[in-house]
């Protein structure tokens, strides 16, 4: 008699990889064990395809249902999800599409997938209050240089070689004229995605602004981030981000670069 752990291991393998060992544990009568297991496999595959379709609506439109479903099935077998919270699972699909040989004919597909994912994440990320800019005024100049910002959970940064924001909008609007007008050479694009008033917002940033924003969102101290970003009006960028609620909190590094002192979280 298998232990529960052994049984579940075998059934999981059987359902994901169609391994025959699962059927040996299951009663076969007028309906074969394999046919009984197939009912579960079909439900699992259909559920994950639906979840991916909801997270990747533009990819689904671009490649069509048949291609999407076959890609999703290959993805599921290669990388089954690890949590009931499928939001943590979905981003790997964009990386998968990047390497999926059958998708190579659409060079911008992985970029559109990353944008799809960033939008989906923005829509469902936890709620958090925006940082009140007045709190920064209480710091002296030396402290301000050592600020590390905490980005809002809905904020995502996407860089793509092609104009995937224009493609994304045209595809989801099913706007053939807009699609035809897209110049694939109009790239790379540097995008900021966030939730504002309940909806997702996609903005194109200048490359230096995007790099500065990415550094700040990664928690790099303000002065380091500005120096690394090159030619950019850092004050203007910061002001815009603060007004738009890109950050929710900040900490200040101790002078000498030790552990940051918490200011608000």
């Amino acid at each position: 008699m298998p232990t529960l752990r052994e049984l579940q291991h075998d059934i999981a393998r059987g359902l994901i990889a169609r391994d025959a060992v699962a059927a040996a544990h299951v009663v076969s009568d007028e309906i074969a064990a394999a046919a009984r297991l197939a009912v579960y496999r079909n439900t699992i595959v259909a559920g994950l395809i639906t979840a991916l379709r909801l997270s990747y609506p533009a990819v689904h439109r671009l490649v069509g249902a048949a291609f999407f479903e076959s890609a999703a099935q290959v993805f599921l077998e290669a990388q089954p999800p690890r949590s009931a919270c499928l939001d943590d699972y979905d981003p790997a699909f964009a990386d998968f599409l990047d390497k999926f040989a059958a998708a190579a004919a659409i060079p911008y597909l992985a970029g559109v997938a990353r944008l799809d994912w960033a939008v989906s994440r923005a829509l469902h990320a936890p709620d958090a209050d925006a940082l009140d800019p007045a709190r920064l005024g209480a710091l002296d100049a030396a402290e301000q240089r050592r600020i590390r910002f905490v980005p809002h959970p809905s904020v995502g940064l996407v860089r793509a070689d092609h104009p995937v924001d224009a493609i994304w909008r045209a595809v989801l609007a099913q706007d053939e004229a807009a699609m035809a007008a897209i110049d694939l050479g109009d790239g790379p694009v540097f995008l900021l995605v966030q939730r504002r008033n309940g909806d997702s917002e996609i903005s194109r940033l200048a490359p230096a602004t995007w790099h500065l924003t990415a550094s700040l969102c990664a928690g790099r101290p303000l002065q380091d981030a500005i120096e690394a970003a090159g030619d950019v009006d850092a004050v203007a960028v910061l002001a815009t981000h603060l007004i738009n609620g890109v950050f929710t909190a900040f900490a200040v590094d101790e002078a000498g670069g030790r552990q940051p002192r918490e200011i608000s979280l």
Binding site: L4, Y40, A84, H124
Partner: protein, 295 residues
């Protein structure tokens, strides 16, 4: 990880009346038209994040008692519960202050891989001990009892030794959890495995029954002309399930009853109409219970 303190907001108890499952396409209609149903239930996992989805529920729960029905905790996994997921459930329970919290007698996680379905357990002493340990852990973490729902199943394991109804009753007895009696699931499993649905109902402890589920199912024809009933929640409740529901009410008395519909979701009015049918039977059961009390 600290357990959650008592819910910060008041929650209305779920009455022994008919409610419907709240699904995304009906958020606006429910908030704006306030349909005549006694309560609503959501899939907990759909409301774990932020943004507009949980905001709808924040608004709707001001007008209706709410139940949170989980599908992702995998109470029957041999490995440990996913504590991060349990914490997410805890946050949702704190935010929405549901009157009932429920999960399933099933598993969906093995070796850290999540299989997005409610898979059947082997009916063994080992599995019973595992489920009881995980129900205890969940109830301790949430600081409240939960309800555990009987599954609909399409297979049995060769080494299963305990009837499912005894297994479920033992979980309730050992952990103090309640039972979410899914009458459609009992009917589907009984048909698929040749069980006696009435005997299943008779084996459940009436005092533990905290909620009843009703839903539609389909009959799938397989090779060789054999059929399997599939619990797809995509149609009206079948006549035979209504009959079994009346039998359940006769045994358990009036119990909060939910209409579930998850595939090919119809207009809200159809769900409200199904709830109205359940309410007629609930009213009859309440009347009988009243007569019995008076006698």
């Amino acid at each position: 990880m600290p357990p959650f303190a008592a819910a910060r907001t008041e929650c209305s108890p779920i009455p022994a009346r008919a409610g419907v499952g709240l699904r995304f396409p009906h958020h606006r209609a429910v908030a704006e038209t306030r349909p005549d149903v006694a309560w609503l239930e959501v899939h907990t996992e759909n409301y774990l994040g932020g943004g507009t989805t949980p905001a709808w529920l924040d608004a709707i729960r001001r007008d209706y008692p709410i139940a949170c029905h989980g599908v992702g905790l995998s109470l029957g996994s041999a490995e440990d519960l996913d504590r991060a997921h349990l914490a997410r459930i805890g946050h949702a329970v704190e935010r929405f202050a549901p009157a009932l919290v429920s999960e399933h007698l099933s598993w969906s996680v093995a070796g850290g891989r999540y299989l997005a379905d409610l898979l059947p357990l082997p009916m063994t002493e080992e599995a019973l001990a595992v489920v009881c340990r995980h129900v205890d852990e969940t109830q301790n973490f949430l600081r409240r009892p939960i309800l555990v729902e009987n599954p609909s199943t399409y297979l049995r394991y060769r080494h299963s030794a305990i009837p499912e109804w005894e297994f479920l009753a033992a979980v309730a007895d050992r952990t103090g959890c309640g039972i979410l009696c899914d009458v459609n699931n009992i009917y589907v499993s009984a048909q698929n495995h040749g069980w006696d649905a009435s005997a299943y109902l008779a084996a459940l402890p009436p005092a533990a029954i905290g909620e009843i589920h009703l839903a539609g199912h389909t009959v799938r024809r397989l090779e060789g002309g054999v059929t399997l009933r599939i619990d797809d929640h995509g149609s009206r409740v079948a006549p035979a399930v209504w009959a079994l529901y009346a039998e359940a009410l006769g045994r358990f008395g009036p119990v909060p009853t939910l209409i579930e519909w998850d595939t090919a979701i119809p207009p809200l009015e159809t769900l409200v109409d199904e709830a109205r049918r359940a309410q007629v039977l609930l009213d009859q059961a309440a009347e009988k219970a009243g007569h019995a009390d008076a006698a």
